[in-house]
């Protein structure tokens, strides 16, 4: 039985927004999503080899959120996230080699093999921090926004959080403080309806997450999380407002995780959610839908897709090779950076 339905407009949802975007921008978002998808698929394919001794939390199905939000950010804007880091890390411009080195526990990983996949960072591009503790990154992102405000920088902070993260009291505390101080922070909620294998209805009364956020006096909007243009539009508006001193905002993006909470493959067959539910969402795959739209309006053709696939494939192959040939840490590394 299907608990959570896709409620967006499907492919039809792109047309009304497309006019605001030059073709190049749309192609860039498409390619960015495709790249993340292919990287995730290759990680998943290789995960069984046990060379990546790290948890993985794949974003297959959630690419539109990461890409749409990050495309609306400047490099100097800061992104914070939870354990589900791959999408935002890559969409924000994080280095792929450094990511795969981290996942292979190599000393040249983006966190020197101390963080693992739940702690991907790339400060040069504003991938500022993550926490493997649900909700942990939310007040920290709020504090980053306070720092920007105090320093008179017009950078904006975006923090990605899941539906379950809204159940942590610290999320409410963070919204209250951000609204109180009118901080330049956008709380971006990827609502995939599940926390590990726990459906939303076992964790929250039937309620509107946007109502919760707006109770703190900040604008809150729900957008189609499978539609990258819709996500971008909402993010761009919230970020622009925050940058102009208009304070924080909340965005809820319903979307679907096509794989298990963690690890490779899907686990719907275990029964915590219906395979039929997953299948019902499949047609609304963010990449398929956007590709279809772009083809229909002939912004994209097969040749371009092939070219993208080739480029991405080569990059991925190179990055894995680089990671696998990279050195492991030595004992002395363990004692580094305990104190600054």
């Amino acid at each position: 039985m299907i608990r959570y339905q896709y409620e967006g407009e499907g492919v039809a949802g792109f047309a009304p927004l497309a006019s605001n975007y030059p073709a190049a921008a749309q192609l860039a978002m498409f390619e960015s999503m495709l790249r993340i998808r292919r990287i995730e698929e290759e990680i998943e394919r290789r995960y069984y080899q046990d060379y990546m001794k790290t948890p993985i939390h794949l974003v297959i199905g959630q690419e539109a959120a990461a890409v749409g939000a990050c495309a609306a950010m400047r490099t100097s804007d800061l992104m914070y996230s939870s354990h589900r880091t791959h999408g935002v890390y890559l969409a924000k411009g994080g280095d792929l080699r450094a990511m795969l080195c981290e996942m292979h526990c190599r000393v040249n990983g983006c966190a020197g093999s101390r963080g693992g996949s739940m702690h991907l960072i790339d400060k040069r591009v504003g991938m500022a921090g993550t926490s493997a503790i649900v909700g942990g990154a939310v007040p920290i992102a709020t504090g980053a926004a306070l720092a920007a405000q105090m320093q008179g920088r017009d950078d904006v902070v975006v923090v990605f959080l899941g539906d379950a993260t809204t159940e942590e009291g610290v999320a409410s505390e963070s919204l209250n403080f951000a609204a109180l101080k009118q901080l330049p922070v956008v709380f971006f909620c990827e609502n995939n309806f599940y926390s590990v294998q726990s459906p939303l209805f076992t964790r929250q009364p039937v309620r509107d997450l946007c109502r919760w956020a707006s109770a703190y006096g900040m604008p809150a909007e729900r957008v189609d999380g499978m539609n990258v243009l819709a996500v971008h539009a909402a993010s761009a508006a919230a970020i622009a407002r925050a940058r102009a001193g208009g304070g924080p905002a909340f965005i809820e993006a319903p979307l679907y995780r096509f794989r298990a909470h963690g690890g490779a493959g899907d686990d719907s067959k275990t029964g915590y959610r219906a395979e039929a539910e997953r299948d019902a969402w499949a047609p609304y795959d963010p990449i398929t839908m956007f590709g279809q739209h772009l083809t229909e309006v002939s912004v994209l053709d097969d040749a371009q897709v092939e070219a993208m696939e080739a480029k991405i494939g080569a990059e991925i192959a190179d990055a894995f090779e680089f990671a696998l040939s990279s050195p492991n840490p030595v004992e002395a590394d363990l004692y580094k950076y305990v104190y600054a």
Binding site: D50, K53, T54, P55, I56, C105, R106, G109, A111, S113, R114, G115, G116, S117, M118, H119, S131, A132, I133, V134, G135, G136, A164, T165, E167, E168, G169, S195, V196, Q197, S198, T202, R203, Q204, A260, H261, G262, G263, D267, T270, G271, Y272, N328, P329, E331, D333, L334, Y335, V338
Partner: protein, 345 residues
């Protein structure tokens, strides 16, 4: 979370002797304890994130919701502090909650309720209320658990009056100590270790209790005492084997309970050996090892023939990467080395 189960399932342990009785895994023994408690006491309920999901907390909660219904076995929101308060309030009013956490790291979110409320109400209320609450968590290790998913917190909590803390090292104790914890009228933290979940052992059928506050000598010996609990005892027993090969006869003392700590069994052992290697799954500063070392200096001074040694975690956060983990964690060899140094002292 499923991601380190592959690792946990791959761990290899000595097989128990089935001749001694029925063999069960550590995880299955916990499942049996929960089943018995739910059957015998209508006030008992089991809740926590994912207790009813297919991975069922390493199988410890498998089938319980089907058997006892969603009123007594249920999933929770991601609200550790709130749920700890809910458990405390329910315990103060006639229930016996078993609040299960995937990792002790998540219990840190609830320290205000656990330390400042659950542990203190019986005292503050002048004995008019009690808080029969079990807080269960399985310490993480390996496969990139890293700094935020591997913390062992027994050292932080052992100084909190009103709390009890148990840390079983065998399937037999996992069942017997959990039953004691559930029937205890005080808040009891049960800290298991993920690396023990698939360890097999002989486990009696039916209800039995391992007393809280009593340790046990796992291996008698005369040269040096290795004292600790949980997975540190697994390593301690391996170390004792290594030492035996050098003709060193180590006594391994399994504390079983961290609070109240069985000082007598440690002091008795020191009378024989005069040497102490304190082992723990947590950090060595200010925790279980420090307490053991201090007890030796305070009450076992006359027995001591050599300095005490600690073999636990260095003053470093847990690294995520595999290679760094190998340097970070204690193992049997490190324990054996410490013991040899004491003999040569």
């Amino acid at each position: 979370m499923p991601w380190d189960e592959g690792l946990i399932n791959s761990l290899v342990y000595d097989r128990p002797d089935p001749a001694e009785g029925r063999v069960l895994s550590y995880g299955a023994a916990i499942n049996e304890a929960l089943t018995i408690a739910l059957e015998q006491n209508p006030g008992v309920f089991v809740f926590g994130q994912g207790v009813d999901d297919p991975s069922a907390m390493f199988g410890t909660t498998r089938g319980l919701q089907q058997k006892f219904g969603p009123e007594r076995v249920f999933d929770t929101p991601l609200s550790e502090e709130g749920m700890m308060g809910v458990a405390t309030g329910a315990a103060m009013n006639g229930q016996r909650p078993v609040f299960m956490h995937n990792r002790p790291d998540f219990v840190l979110l609830a320290f205000n309720q656990l330390v400042t409320h659950a542990a203190k109400f019986h005292f503050m209320d002048n004995g008019q209320t009690s808080v029969p609450l079990v807080v269960w968590a399985a310490i993480g290790r390996g496969w990139g658990s890293g700094a935020q998913h591997s913390q062992a917190i027994q050292g932080m909590l052992m100084g909190v009056p009103g709390l009890k803390i148990v840390m079983p090292s065998t399937p037999h104790d996992a069942k017997g100590l959990l039953l004691s914890a559930i029937l205890d009228d005080n808040p009891v933290c049960v800290f298991e270790h993920r690396w023990l979940m698939r360890k097999d052992g002989v486990v009696p059928e039916g209800a039995y209790r391992v007393p809280i506050g009593k340790g046990i000598v796992r291996r008698p010996g005369k040269d040096v005492t290795i004292a600790g609990a949980s997975h540190a005892i697994e390593l301690g027993m391996q170390a004792a084997k290594l030492l035996a090969d050098d003709g060193i006869d180590a006594e391994v003392v399994d504390l079983r309970t961290i609070k109240p700590l069985d000082e007598a069994i440690v002091l008795e052992s020191l009378k024989k050996t005069g040497r102490l290697v304190a082992v723990d799954t947590a950090w060595s500063i200010g925790g279980v090892c420090a307490e053991l070392g201090c007890i030796a200096a305070e009450k076992g001074f006359a027995s001591l023939k050599a300095p005490v040694r600690r073999v636990a975690l260095p003053d470093v956060p847990t690294p995520a990467g595999y290679t760094l983990e190998q340097f970070f964690y204690p193992d049997a060899a490190k324990i054996a080395t410490a013991a040899r140094e004491l003999i040569l002292h």
